[in-house]
Amino acid sequence: MSDTVSVDAPRPVAEINAAGRFLFIAGIVLLCAWVLVPIYFLVVNTLSSPQEVAGFPKSAIPSFDFGSLQFFLHFKGVGWALWNSVLVAGLTMALSIGIGAPAGYALSRFEFPGKASFRMLVLMTRAFPLPLLALPLAVMFIRVGLDDSPIGLALVHTTLALPFAVLITFSIFSGIPLELEEAAWTLGCNRVQAFSKVVLPLVMPGIAASAIFAFTISWNEVFAAAVLTVENRTLTAFLLQNLSVSPLHLRFAGGAALVMPALIFIFAVRKYLFAMWGIANR
């Protein structure tokens, strides 16, 4: 900071403002450090050799040794777990958008009896600890042969992601004026054509964002994944199961494998996070 205030012309207000500004910026820097430094530590551990990870004291600068990462990637079961995570998250994404987007469209375009009850049902899911659903569903899935299957887990994750999908797509469709659709009707389009030619191109980015959000929800979920999978573990379930028996460098590399895609996902959907919560509040 440059200190150019002369002594013989004190300007109290400006000084208070300057002090306030300094505090304000210091606060921002501190908060950013609070978020970023722990992630940085994980990165350091991931990019250090297994010996360094177990060694002491720790250096704050990584040695860029890929030993830990290689050990993790070649560890038995990791590749399969990664594949399962992607598969379950992909299925969750498809299911929650496929089921949620039509509901979001209906809520934004029509007034009909029962609308309030449906909204209530969707909002009610928030008052329930949803991962617990895995307990009774584990029994039900054994009965119908869906136990330990990616689709079974994806169904549970869809319950987590569906309320968000409905609310986000509702807010996205509400942002497209009905007049646009009506104009297409008067020009000879039927309802389906008007939707696919006028509305769909406009809402695509938003739909993609809510799809990514659904993917992230499934990618991160631990409890239901650990309850419902045995042989076909997802990455979270695999790491959880091996926490107490695996060496530190395996845990940190696994943690990094969970974090890195999530960072990209959040970056991709950052614009929509706020729009979606603004509407979800009401």
Partner: protein, 281 residues
């Protein structure tokens, strides 16, 4: 196509899905919790309540939520106020603040493990600064309170972002005129925050508190990553009854306890932070 039927057709898949995979399983949990080999019984609850771990487990979970949620609310309010005041660099700061939102609770636990484990960064710093001679074993049953603190820090670190996002969106909905009016009447920044922002933010505060409190009762992976089973919490006990002890009925009884405190806290927030009639923007 008939326009009257269309909205119902569009809602049908979502409604059916929620009935089959949300409403029905919760009924099933209740059935499981109250049933045994010989039909209706209260035995799962007796087994749960008389188990030596139950009281500690319930107390730990509630205490964690009671400490974590208020701190998160204050922190998120400051973050949201900062963000709304920013002119330059708003987007990048917002992205950094929201990063933890996309992280798994398991990942958050592992991240804080890197700090608190015996050869971790906290010990490296303490020894480096000469505050201790040898690295300390923080995360053991002898230092239960350190595990507790580590879990609290990890939870605050991970889940404040969601509260902040909800509050930032809520602040965006408050009309600028209200602040201008308050300023005309001589209200300073602090007074404007107390008299305009907070009351207008009521619906967002309600949503944020309900979501966060329920999630706090579900704390699981963070605790397992940092303390294994040394610090028992409700979700962890549910998990071990399901697997290690293989008694689905007791696991379901635990689930009902989590459900009960979740619904109770939701009702409290709905009542305490209700928006007065006719007071919407």
């Amino acid at each position: 196509m008939n326009n009257k039927a269309l909205p119902y057709l569009l809602l049908l898949p979502a409604t059916l899905f929620l009935l089959v995979f949300f409403v029905y399983p919760f009924v099933q949990i209740a059935v499981l919790a109250f049933s045994g080999p010989e039909g209706f019984t209260l035995k799962p609850f007796q087994t749960m309540a008389t188990h030596w771990k139950f009281q500690t487990t319930l107390w730990n979970t509630i205490l964690l939520a009671a400490i974590v949620v208020p701190i998160q609310l204050l922190l998120a309010l400051s973050m949201a106020s900062i963000v709304t005041k920013l002119k330059t660099g708003r987007n990048i700061i917002l992205y950094i603040f929201t990063i933890p939102l996309g992280l798994s609770d398991l990942a958050a636990g592992i991240i804080w493990l890197a700090i608190f484990e015996q050869s971790g960064f906290l010990n490296s710093m303490l020894v480096g600064l000469g505050l201790t001679e040898r690295p300390m074993l923080f995360l053991s049953y002898q230092n239960l309170w350190v595990i507790f603190v580590a879990v609290i820090l990890a939870e605050i670190w991970r889940a404040t972002a969601i509260v902040m996002v909800i509050l930032v969106s809520g602040m965006g909905l408050i009309p600028k005129e209200y602040y201008e009016a308050a300023e005309v009447f001589g209200a300073g920044p602090w007074k404007r925050f107390l008299k305009v922002t907070l009351p207008m933010l009521r619906p967002s505060l309600q949503t944020a508190l309900i979501l966060r409190t329920i999630a706090a009762f579900e704390v699981f992976a963070v605790v397992v990553a940092l303390g294994g089973t040394t610090l028992p919490v409700l979700m962890g006990e549910t998990f071990s009854w399901q697997f290690t002890l293989t008694d689905r009925h007791v696991a379901a009884a635990y689930a009902l306890v989590i459900l009960a405190i979740s619904i109770a806290s939701t009702l409290v927030f709905l009542r305490v932070l209700r928006t007065p009639k006719g007071a919407t923007v």
